[in-house]
């Protein structure tokens, strides 16, 4: 390695390390130390402390008997299995739409990114008020058009959860569409031209050209989105607050709920319960990204 030629001892003279390390390596260590300090102080310590708080078996017994925890676990699974797959399918479809070369589609893609760029709190609260049964725009519109009162959107647990998933999709769809677009743009245009000459249909082109070159990316995106969605606190908390009657909690909001009730052990235990779901996903992602 050429860099090590310039070994000199002026930078760290006197320390035992300097005998074995070259100056660039000393600098290398000095420059990585800030991150290591952050990592130790704000990742290792909190995670270790969290596990220590979650050590008592009684916490897990309490969780087992808490109907809200079971409900939150089910909600989380619904959120992940239905929410993520619907989102990724739409993103896959829209990525095909946005790679079309039309100037109005270029403009639309600029607007389309807005939900991702703006803070979630004002937009989610905007949806929350839109769905207000008495004054919300949606029900006022339903009343004007049909003369009937609209449904009480956020008061029915399954509708409220569906709305939270909708908000989540609204917020994160642009990001995944953008990523899948880069995947589509990486496919050689020659393949499509050849397929056109052979008279391939739209579906055949997707099935035999687009999908084979995108499926690895699509899978990675889906898994990554699942991990992140587990931590999506805003969509549920700001829209429903976990209500009605704590029936729309997901694991991300449940931990905070226990924290507010001063049941710190339960908060940590509920997160530990999610680890069997998270760790395989993380392991898979690490293997894919860090080769």
């Amino acid at each position: 390695m050429a860099i090590t030629i310039s070994a000199s001892q002026d930078a760290a003279a006197g320390t035992p390390l300097s005998a074995r390390l070259s100056t660039p390596q000393v600098w290398g260590i000095l420059m990585i130390v800030p991150y290591l300090l952050v990592f130790l102080a704000f990742v290792v310590y909190p995670v270790g402390y969290g596990f220590w708080l979650a050590r008592q078996p009684s916490s897990y017994v309490a969780l087992y008997h808490d109907p809200i925890f079971a409900r939150a676990a089910v909600n989380t699974l619904i959120f992940l299995v239905i929410g993520i797959n619907v989102k990724m399918l739409i993103a896959l479809f829209l990525s095909g739409f946005f790679v079309q070369s039309r100037s109005w589609i270029k403009w639309l893609s600029v607007i389309f990114i807005l939900p991702w760029a703006v803070p979630s709190i004002p937009t989610i609260l905007s949806v929350r008020f839109m769905l207000n049964p008495e004054w919300g725009m949606v029900n006022q519109l339903i009343f004007k058009l049909t003369g009937d009162d609209g449904p009480n959107w956020l008061n029915d647990p399954s509708v409220a959860l569906a709305m939270a998933i909708g908000v989540h999709i609204w917020k994160s769809l642009p990001f995944w569409t953008l990523i899948l677009m880069t995947g589509r743009l990486a496919i050689s245009q020659d393949l499509f031209e050849a397929a056109d000459v052979d008279g391939a249909s739209w579906w055949q082109k997707f099935r035999y050209i687009t999908w084979p070159s995108m499926q690895a990316l699509y899978l990675t995106c889906t898994l990554l989105s699942m991990i992140w969605t587990l931590g999506d606190f805003n969509s549920v908390y700001l829209l429903t607050g976990g209500g009605p009657a704590d029936l729309t909690h997901v694991l991300a909001t449940l931990g905070i709920r226990y924290l507010r009730l001063d049941q710190l052990n339960l908060a940590m235990a509920s997160i530990v319960c999610a680890l069997p779901l998270v760790l395989p996903l993380v392991y898979f992602m690490m293997k894919r990204l860090s080769r």
Binding site: A2, I3, S6, T23, P24, Q25, W27, G28, I29, M31, I32, P34, Y35, L36, V38, F39, A41, F42, P46, V47, Y49, L94, I105, L108, V110, P115, A117, V118, P119, S120, I121, P122, T123, L125, S126, F129, M130, W135, M137, Q140, L178, T182, L217, T220, C221, L230, G231, Y237, A252, G255, I256, Y258, L259, M268, A274, V278, V282, M286, L289, S290
Partner: protein
């Protein structure tokens, strides 16, 4: 100009059939927020699609802090700005140094640090929030800006290191070798060669960290609580506590708060799209 064929018109119609719903879907919550912001109170609660008397009065109330909920608007906006700027600067400093050390200086154990950072990147932020809250309490940082700044730096830097490491691996190693031949020290290489060449990625990462901190709600509301310490999103969340919340003011404030990130995003879009999406999933 020749007329479009029937087939072309059909394609165009189908594209519009997708484009129009996408536009409506994207704009509804934002439009709703905007309508509230320009509606007087009576109009806001009548569910009109466009107010009969659009007004900028709400903005006046917000800017002059003429409502109980908004009495610290400027202080809170200032907190948001200071915290976002600090998170951006600190993340850039820490992550650039770490990426340079791992990728260019090939520090021993760099690979392990990179994997640890990547692992942190995959911890769902809400899961870390509860232990982070207690940790900040133990460190005595709770209710200070530092708590939120350090927490957001912790969350932002793994991804920053990852993206910057990917980008700096692409710089030719001959550059460093040539600089070493000319007698440059590591620090000089960092300052005079590395940072200028990495500028596009650094802009992308800085923007990413600033937006992340500006938009954060969960950590902000856990770690800060005094009225004059909180960031604006926490203040917006506090509106919800009251039954008679002035929703038109809430939406106005939210609209104002959403403008800077949107502007920053569009200003740096060129860098963001290339720099961030590339690092996000591509290996």
């Amino acid at each position: 100009m020749k007329l479009p064929t029937l087939r072309e018109a059909g394609t165009e119609a189908r594209l519009l059939l997708i484009g129009i719903p996408v536009f409506i879907w994207t704009m509804i919550p934002i439009y709703h927020m905007f309508v509230f912001a320009i509606s007087p109170k009576e109009d806001a609660f009548s569910g009109k699609l466009w107010p009969s008397h659009p007004t900028l009065h709400n903005f006046e109330i917000v800017f002059f802090q003429q409502h109980y909920f908004l009495r610290d608007f400027w202080v809170q906006l200032g907190n948001s700005t200071i915290i976002a700027a600090s998170v951006g600067a600190l993340t850039l400093l820490i992550a650039t140094a770490a990426a340079f050390s791992i990728s260019r200086l090939r520090v021993p154990g760099g690979r392990i640090v990179l994997n640890l950072a990547l692992f942190t990147y995959f911890i769902p932020a809400a899961f870390l929030a509860v232990p982070m809250y207690r940790t900040m309490g133990n460190y005595g940082l709770l209710n200070t800006s530092w708590a939120l700044i350090l927490a957001m730096v912790t969350i932002a830097s793994p991804y920053a290191i990852w993206v910057l490491k990917q980008a700096s691996d692409k710089l030719p190693v001959e550059l460093d070798e040539a600089a070493v031949m000319d007698g440059a020290t590591s620090l000089q290489i960092f300052r005079l060669v590395y940072v200028p060449l990495m500028m596009p990625s650094l802009v992308a990462i800085g923007t990413y960290a600033v937006l992340l901190a500006w938009n954060e709600y969960l950590y902000a509301f856990l770690l800060l609580s005094n009225d004059r310490d909180i960031t604006l999103p926490v203040a917006l969340g506090n509106f919800l506590a009251a039954d008679d919340s002035p929703w038109e003011l809430l939406m106005t404030t939210g609209f104002i708060y959403a403008l800077p990130p949107a502007a920053i995003y569009y200003a740096f879009r060129r860098y963001m799209v290339g720099g961030l999406t590339a690092g996000a999933v591509k290996s």
